[in-house]
Symmetry: C2
Subunit: 332 residues, 2 copies
């Protein structure tokens, strides 16, 4: 691999001149520049970014941390991050933690040592105290999945309010016995959505049957397992509010396997509005969140942070909206 020295030697100039051609492009004779460029081409030279980054103290790369890309939801969030980043000539790289704190610490190490200029956390497995300690001076923004104990700016929706509205929607459709398929305490968004569900049920004077509140997780498998457990009880609720669209899809599929049809026999509501929810049969009534915008805004905040400013506001709550489809019907 050719270095800047090789180029300088071949072009018959000093490394400084080569560097000047490469970077500013100013203060160099056209003839000299020509020689340098042809040497670069001849040697197929690319500047070693390790050396450059070390010297410049910036890498123009940012990290997106998430538990898994198999969760369809994140893909448009990342797109938002990427497009904002690209405008400022940043590249983004994705790291997966698979819910493993060790893997997350590994990525944190890269951040601490300036392998990347900053990060957007879409999920995190660490607690606020540890992260606060680790994150000293590292530009980080949280998006979607937010832990308010983290000492970082964030952008998300109001999960609790969204869940309130979703539950109220079900109630207004005439459903009275409503179950909730959540993800337990693993992630805050699920907890907040459960809160919203409970609050609204109580506000409407409707009882919550705890055997219909099942915490299996966000994924398709979670929906299937929760539905299986639901079927073990003698009676079914009128409707189920699921913590995610994938969970809802799994539940609908599992119920169908036992002859329980959605929405004929039971209504199922999702959350997120991923592509699957409009394609699924039946299509899934859900709560849309502005995935692209969440990502874009988070990246804007991160850029401010990298620039040394404190973004203001440093917490951003974006709008959500119920999207009516086929999986919820009025209670007859």
């Amino acid at each position: 691999m050719a270095t800047i020295k090789d180029v300088a030697k071949l072009a018959g100039v000093s490394v400084a001149t080569v560097s000047r051609v490469l970077n500013q492009g100013e203060n160099v004779q056209p003839e000299t520049e020509r020689k340098v460029r042809s040497a670069i081409k001849a040697l197929r030279y690319s500047p070693n970014l390790l050396g450059r980054n070390l010297r410049r103290r910036e890498t123009r790369k940012i990290l997106v941390l998430l538990n898994t890309i198999s969760n369809q939801f994140y893909s448009r969030v990342v797109r938002g991050i990427e497009e904002c980043a690209a405008e400022q000539e940043y590249s983004v790289m994705i790291g997966m933690t698979h819910g493993d704190p060790k893997l997350e610490r590994n990525f944190l190490e890269m951040l601490k040592t300036k392998l990347m200029d900053g990060a957007v956390f879409l999920t995190s497995e660490l607690d606020g105290a540890e992260l606060a300690a680790q994150l000293q001076g590292i530009p980080v923004v949280q998006a979607c999945e937010v832990q308010s104990t983290f000492p970082t700016p964030w952008v998300s929706i109001d999960n609790r309010r969204a869940a309130c509205e979703a539950t109220r929607y079900l109630v207004e459709k005439g459903h009275r016995q409503i179950g909730f398929f959540g993800a337990g305490d693993t992630y805050g968004s699920s907890r907040q959505r459960e809160e919203g569900f409970r609050l609204t049920m109580e506000g409407a004077g409707l009882p919550i049957r705890e055997e219909w509140v099942l915490d299996e997780g966000f994924g398709v498998g979670a929906g299937i397992r929760a539905a299986e457990r639901l079927l073990e009880f003698g009676s079914l609720p009128d409707a189920v509010f699921c913590v995610s669209d994938t969970c809802a899809a799994g539940a609908i599929r599992c119920l169908a396997g036992e002859g329980v049809l959605v929405p004929r026999d039971i209504s199922v509501m999702g959350f997120d509005n991923i592509r699957l929810s409009e394609v699924f049969l039946p299509s899934i009534t859900t709560t849309w969140q502005p995935q692209y915008e969440i990502g874009y805004k988070a990246m804007e905040m991160l850029l401010r942070l990298i620039g040394g400013e404190e973004p203001s506001p440093n917490r951003l709550v974006l709008e959500h909206r119920i999207i009516e489809r086929e999986s919820v019907s009025p209670k007859n």
Copy 2:
């Protein structure tokens, strides 16, 4: 951010000693080590990986390049890569190209300049000639989506043979008028699957109606668009062979919207066996490919390449298998 010098100063030793404590841990007095470690803790020191990588000429990071993570299929492939990588203490980072050669060149730049030790390409937008020129000495392996003109080892399935078998399966179910939803020439796998389709149809003496061969792409939207075009013709085929499960799902959904039910009115076959295909209603008959193993084997090859050996064999064709589900039924 503290550097090794700060640590050395605080501990009252030289940087060499600090480095020894950090790396080999040998040849250093317990007492000295204790002092160093407490200085490290006090200063919250982490070695700067840019400096280390520059010096060691390795980063222990590898890049996975793909067009988009919204394609569910890749997630298990990446998992295979990650688990093999982790065994050798490599971290993996994902970069998306979104089908844009410029973005891909950007990532290539990182590789050329040793920001990462090597890469697995799950897709690529460049042609063989350009890549051959760029890839001089950079360890790269292709997986899944393979261009045989690339000068790299690869691992994949036999797409053509798999498509032959899938088509034959449809024929054996009694279908005679069969359509193909592909992705055109954007990626080789689609072309090879189309070849297999055509070969088998001809071999069975069945005519191919070109208006039923539609190239819209791999995604859900592609399946929808292709189905829309299909519906514009007066008559429908007995069955459609789709290039991917997501495409099949889109097609099934679109047909259902027009009252054409799968598999009652038409059979639809997918490809890949992603999670969606077992959850979808109807569940999708498809061809499984060993996603995890493809990733794992590709990473094994890459490690050999990084180690300076040429892997042998340097092309690996793994097995596939038809999975029967609900979306294909016998022609009555």
